[in-house]
Amino acid sequence: MPAPRRTVRDPQEEIALIERVCAGEKHLFYELIQPYERSVYIAAHSVMQNEADAEEVAQEAFLKAFGNLASFRKESKFSTWLIQIAINEARMKRRKDRKALYDSIDEPQTDDEGDYFPRDFADWREIPSETLQRNELRRALEKALAALDAKYREVFIMRDVQHLSITETAQALGITEASVKTRLLRARLQMRDALAPGFDGAWRVGDGSWKKVRPW
């Protein structure tokens, strides 16, 4: 299995590319954004929750990035800037689609509630490496992600899939760093609840060293 592609590009080279595109060399734009195709798509998907909409939003986000390239501040990270645009595009589209469907206003931005209590204490020590390739696991992940509230899912994707820092996540989503931390906690615990019991039956391989602990 090939390892996931990690993009490492010299920041100086990137700034030079940005300047050349701004100066009129439009044909270099794709080369500039190519390393971030996946990040932007995943960011859009974290909001839209389906492939077709996420792809459309990603394309729009790149076009918007092109239009606003001159306003990119060199002291911030280009990838975070792109992700921020994608998140905004996706939220706008979601709002528009919702309006068309229900003519409703935007979902209320409730504050983060109190403590989250784990549903059970399923013991889940190991991840056999081969499970990562299994479709059941992928489906289970998708289902668990879809069940998260958007505000938790977005933070979780930024941090644990995109590996953005807490500061970058706060910046991309327009929330405070404290909110990033509390939402991430909630998302991780909820994902654990959704996935740990499934690990027993749905995609677990190997012997039954599994046990469940339910003290109440």
Binding site: Y41, D115, D160
Partner: protein, 81 residues
């Protein structure tokens, strides 16, 4: 030095920060002490860490087939090149 005990609820509240190394050394020590004696919190910790590993692996999210080609085409249409 005796470690001041902390409650399970306190541990759950900090488990994500613990995974990220976002807690001070004293709290870390108290949590580690707690994990040694608390099967439930250890299970929660292992599970949460596994979630982070699974999802962070990079293989869970692929671009749809043909994504890059369609993007390139759209960019060419809209901005030229």
């Amino acid at each position: 030095m005796a470690t001041i005990e902390i409650s399970c609820i306190h541990v759950w509240r900090e488990i994500s920060n613990y995974i990220d190394g976002e807690i001070d050394p004293e709290l870390r020590r108290r949590m580690e002490e707690h994990f040694k004696g608390c099967e439930h919190c250890s299970a929660i910790f292992d599970g949460a860490r596994n979630v982070v590993r699974l999802i962070g692996d990079g293989r869970a999210f692929d671009l749809p087939a043909g994504f890059s080609e369609r993007l390139k085409k759209r960019l060419e249409e809209k901005i030229g090149g």
